[in-house]
Symmetry: C2
């Protein structure tokens, strides 16, 4: 796919970074990993902003001398033309539909609460962050309910096998209970799907 | 591309809906348009939730009896295989990078402030919405600055011609001044790019 081994600029505990590692692992692609401590501001240094990502965020996937921010775009790059991206035009767009939904309706609620509560720490939150917690809990719960209803009738988000949509949604869903009081046992079809993802050949854990 | 004419379920003033109309117009694809009053809750009715989008949002692009929510996924469906999606794998992923960035860093700030101030009305905002306005103004301004720096060196977001990344970002950028106190004259490269999009053959205005 590329001559050089891709380099992942990351913070290992981030679900957004993990998505890319999981995509690469399932496809058998080796990644070089470079760590940044986001709590210490290592992605906001002038060097990082000028050379890796002007948006000051990880993950960034580096391909030779080119840099690709945005987790789901990096997954798409690795998965494009493989079995993780459906061949049909509608299904391919429908896969992206779930990936955009993940970034708009799922990640800002479920991932943000996990970050605030399990990484930043509740005592360090601002008043505005605290004021947003109830809304994010409710929106995160609604996202899990929507996933549960969708998965009641089908094994994967799109089509008959795992796609990037499943990988993108799995990343923060399977660790949702680390923040915000989510209870996955209320969403049994989501739990079954989590187990299905974890049986996929090449699967690796977020802590790997 | 499809046998049946696509149906756009929309609220016409929404930039997310406009993206799809603009993509279709540039490609010469006819759309049937169905309007919903989001301020009256017409996308939260049991019928809409059961038949159009369980997430209760527009736009949704209907292709025959299949429904595709998420504006950027709908644009991808229409643009896939056309000149609006780059042929190179890195460039295609880089286009999606900007589209994910739009939904995560641009739309929740610039579009939300426009919606709150120009559509809902400042007097109807909740205390929590009001408390978020300064943060969204700052984040929206940072998004415009990032775009301005990117466009200082190139005419389009990705590659040498217009792509879906430009259409996705144009939709709310060109009407940014309708909410949140943004001033596009501070971002001259963005202004030049706006003029470039508007010269594209097939271009149509958000009010068309």
């Amino acid at each position: 796919m590329t001559e050089t081994r891709p380099i992942l600029h990351e913070y290992a505990a981030s679900g957004n970074c993990y998505k890319i590692r999981l995509t690469a692992a399932i496809l058998g692609i080796g990644l070089e990993r470079r760590q940044y401590d986001i709590l210490a501001g290592e992605t906001r240094t002038p060097h990082f902003l000028a050379n890796v990502n002007s948006n000051g965020r990880i993950p960034v996937l580096q391909i030779g001398d080119r840099f690709l921010p945005e987790s789901n775009a990096a997954c798409f790059f690795l998965g494009d033309g493989t079995r993780l991206v459906p061949a049909g035009a509608f299904e391919r767009a429908d896969m992206l539909r779930w990936m955009f939904w993940e970034q708009y309706n799922h990640e800002p609620n479920i991932a943000t609460l996990r970050f605030w509560l399990a990484f930043v720490g509740p005592e360090k939150l601002s008043d505005l962050q605290r004021a947003q917690m109830d809304g994010k809990s409710a929106a995160g719960e609604a996202a899990l309910e929507l996933m549960n209803r969708h998965l009641a009738a089908r094994p994967w988000f799109v089509g008959e096998s795992i796609s990037l949509a499943d990988i993108a949604l799995y990343a923060y869903t399977h660790v949702a209970e680390e923040g915000g009081g989510f209870d996955l046992s209320l969403h049994p079809h989501v739990q079954d799907w989590i187990a299905r993802v974890e049986r996929e050949p090449g699967y690796l854990a977020i802590t790997a």
